[in-house]
Symmetry: C2
Subunit: 512 residues, 2 copies
């Protein structure tokens, strides 16, 4: 196996020559990998998961040292990463994801005799995956985008995040080794380090798709690079999200409701030091309950211990956002958690809570509306519940999640309209829960209209994520031996095939 | 109903104020249209098809006058357009396209108790569809992109092609009327005319996706506009394709093979005056059979009558391409069909055939390799069949179709490798047929790597085209009455729902 970084395993940036070699190896492995049987790739994904699980102690120690995240959180995240790899194994093993369609030749076709047509999904080719900072396992080297692309049959180059280089190198070595032992072609998994290498690879014609988890600024920059290439490629960036939560009067009224909601919100904004893309940034509450709910939130965050932020860059960005938000006109500080910088420029934080009104929030605009990546959230008092739908549509046009708390049986026309707005502006709509903690399942959607993502045609969590890395090819009148296995009459992989019945087209329109 | 163009039905360009009104009406209709039942939209699509069929005589006369295409071709194309609308009705009527997924709450989930998650596809919102010039029915106002977007539940604004404005206005009126009678919301279908209106609409934040059929230059310009918006949107451009055809020695050798292939090629490059995106631009033949095959092609085109090109702009572009191709070093003229301009600047053509060698073609580059939109194709003699795979990968990186002619039972490793290259560079791979004439079926793929399209994640022909206009939303722990019908337990639309069995996640990875 080549060394994962192309640079002898060192944590320095990947050199230009090595970038060239990485792209070359990915492209060279592409066809052989695309032609592996889904069952064999599934076995390889399980092997990768098992290898990571076996190295848990070493990997978690590395992750703690490089990210400041706590052991229980990292233990859970590594387990999630392993389960995620196995979910994708499960997703591909029966070959249903190939969407094999067969339209037999039809001499009676309404528009004249029709040839034999067989369509299947095939991998896009080499995928460049930019790792995120905040999930050093689940959205990094062996994370969801890597699992989805490998499951699809695409070679992967991960551009490692500078926040955890040693962990990235070690994880990459384990992944590459497990894939090799499982018989996958050389070059299907590689690691690059450094911003220049990341951009150079994105411009390389051999790279056929990009995926990214990170900031709006970096993600939009890279999306623009991908779109401006001589041959543009799809770029799936998961950027930023403020995940508003709306408490309806019917939910705030019940006995104990304020305490429960306040405590839940406090926990959701505090976990992982608020460095989650699904952290709720705003809690909209009825004006008449605002004082009580704000007290409950303040009480909830009071006991949260100081946590280290992921790295000095994120800490300094968070300090700037704190300053801007708390200094905005009409914004009051409820709890100032501050940010303490230690001798290594690492930031240590406890949650910060602010409060404001709808009018002040609208007037402040992006100063307050933009994402604060860290434990800062804003309680917003509203006067009239009937204004919420228009407000959500205007202030929150694109989010990963939106949440509404409703009283039992509150299903008025106003609620229906509000839920419609949330479904138009969000990838996931929650009822009476908290958006942090994203289940890795077939029905998960982790995406959303821009700026939540650069492309909301896919998801970056859950088994549906595989579709981002596939395109379709149709074979017309092909001899059986020249068809890919999933399209043959003898169906050697035993995949589900959707076969149009003879004369099906004659009935078009007759059913309705 | 508003007048289709927003300009009193006249064929002049849509004014800026009217552009604003069109976008406003599309956005205003979006939610109500998204919430119509698939069965009701299916009925509406059938009604549109029936209304167009009922107006066939009038529409075909208009199309003949504006495009110069012949009555039999236009009669077939209108029939195809009607069948296409009904295919999309059939595609949505059972609701399977919604991909409804339900993961019931799972207290035993491997990563901790999991909420109830329900995921469905929903329409993107208003779609702007740029009509093509060469299919005044099937890729124009009521064409495939319109049918797919309406089927998905997206309001459509068609930017009509200037080559057939009166036909566009009349078709739009029939479509809008049929949709209104079928009970669809006002504003779900509108027409805009003029280049400025087309660009202004693409920049309008209320437009959520674009689709386009036309030239590489215009398509790339619009794709760049879509990508550069403050909020980027997906843009599905079907641009250009040269659709190479490769005759293997095993196919050229048989008795009568040259005559059959030559006649088929001649017919495929001549139909619709060569103004088809699937027109084969190159015929690669073994050097030893080149003379015979070239004679067969020349003989095949000899009897083709003069045809009018679509419009003066296309004619002048074709004259320029003829001049460039026939003047390139190493290119010989086999048949010079010329281009006769009449008093109205309309171009009249018979097929032009050139011949060259692989070496001269490689040396000439884009001068010869670029698409010639019209009846001009090049016969290319190759010396060594083992060079074809590398040649196809290098010279033809993105095409709608590629075709190979093989002898009976020719399934050598070299053939397998060649077919792999074609499947990597093309949306459709044909064996012993001609790429013109695209069946509208579930297994059709009409797309391909750039520059065949700006995004090969979808198809612009066949029922799979609907996926381009959908995104996903997940509902977490939603009360039943607030779920969209397709995700409810009582399943009032009776759509297929994929429900994860309890504890399914516990088995992940166990199967492989």
């Amino acid at each position: 196996m080549p060394t994962p970084t192309g640079s002898g395993g060192a944590a320095g940036p990947t050199a230009a020559d090595d970038v060239e070699a990485l792209a070359g190896r990915a492209a060279a492995s592409s066809r052989a990998f695309a032609q592996t049987a889904p069952r064999d790739r599934a076995r390889a994904l399980v092997a990768v998961g098992d290898a990571l699980a076996a190295a848990a102690d070493e990997l978690i120690d590395l992750a703690m040292a490089e990210t400041g995240l706590a052991r229980p959180r990292l233990t859970g995240e590594l387990k999630r990463t392993v389960v995620q790899l196995k979910l994708f194994a499960e997703t591909i093993v029966d070959g249903a994801y190939l969407d094999a369609r067969i339209d037999p030749a039809d001499p009676e076709f309404a528009l004249g005799a029709r040839p034999d047509l067989r369509r299947t999904l095939v991998p896009l080719g080499p995928v460049l995956n930019y790792a995120g900072s905040n999930f050093p396992f689940a959205f990094s080297v062996a994370g969801g985008d890597t699992a989805a692309a490998l499951a699809a049959g695409c070679p992967v180059i991960v551009k490692g995040h500078p926040g955890h280089p040693q962990l990235s190198i070690r994880t990459a070595a384990i992944v590459a080794e497990a894939l090799a032992v499982a018989g996958m072609p050389d070059g299907v998994f590689q690691l690059a380090l450094g911003q220049e290498a990341g951009v150079a690879l994105l411009k390389d014609d051999r790279i056929r798709a990009g995926s990214f988890t990170g900031s709006l600024r970096a993600g939009r920059f890279l999306a623009d690079v991908a779109a401006a290439r001589p041959r543009p490629i799809p770029f799936f960036g998961e950027l930023g999200s403020v995940n508003p939560v709306f408490v309806f009067p019917s939910a705030a009224a019940g006995a104990g409701a304020a305490a429960t909601i306040g405590a839940g919100f406090a926990a959701s904004i505090s976990g992982s030091a608020g460095q989650l893309c699904t952290k709720p940034g705003f809690l909209f509450v009825p004006a008449e309950s605002a004082a009580e709910l704000t007290r409950a939130v303040a009480s909830g965050v009071a006991g949260v211990p100081e946590q280290r932020m992921l790295n000095p860059q994120i800490a300094s960005g968070f300090v700037a956002r704190q300053h801007t938000v708390l200094g905005a006109d009409g914004v009051s500080t409820v709890v100032d958690g501050g940010t303490r910088l230690d001798g290594d420029e690492q930031g240590w934080v406890t949650p910060t809570v602010a409060s404001t009104t709808v009018a002040a929030l609208s007037a402040a605009g992006s100063a307050v509306l933009d994402e604060a990546f860290g434990p800062l959230s804003v309680v917003v008092a509203y006067d009239d519940v009937s204004e919420l739908a228009a407000l959500a549509a205007e202030l929150f046009p694109g989010n990963l999640t939106s949440t509404v708390f409703l009283g039992e049986g509150d299903e008025s026309a106003l609620v229906h309209e509000f839920v419609s707005v949330l479904s138009e502006t969000s990838g996931r709509v929650l009822f009476g829960g908290w958006p942090t903690g994203v289940a890795v399942t077939p029905a998960m959607q982790h995406g959303g209209p821009y700026p939540a993502t650069t492309s909301d045609s896919g998801t970056s969590v859950g088994s549906a994520a595989i579709t981002r890395f596939l395109r379709a090819v149709t074979y017309q009148d092909a001899p059986q031996p020249l068809l890919p296995p999933q399209l043959r009459d003898d169906n050697p992989w035993n995949v589900p095939q959707t076969i149009s019945p003879p004369g099906a087209s004659a009935t078009w329109g007759a059913l309705v």
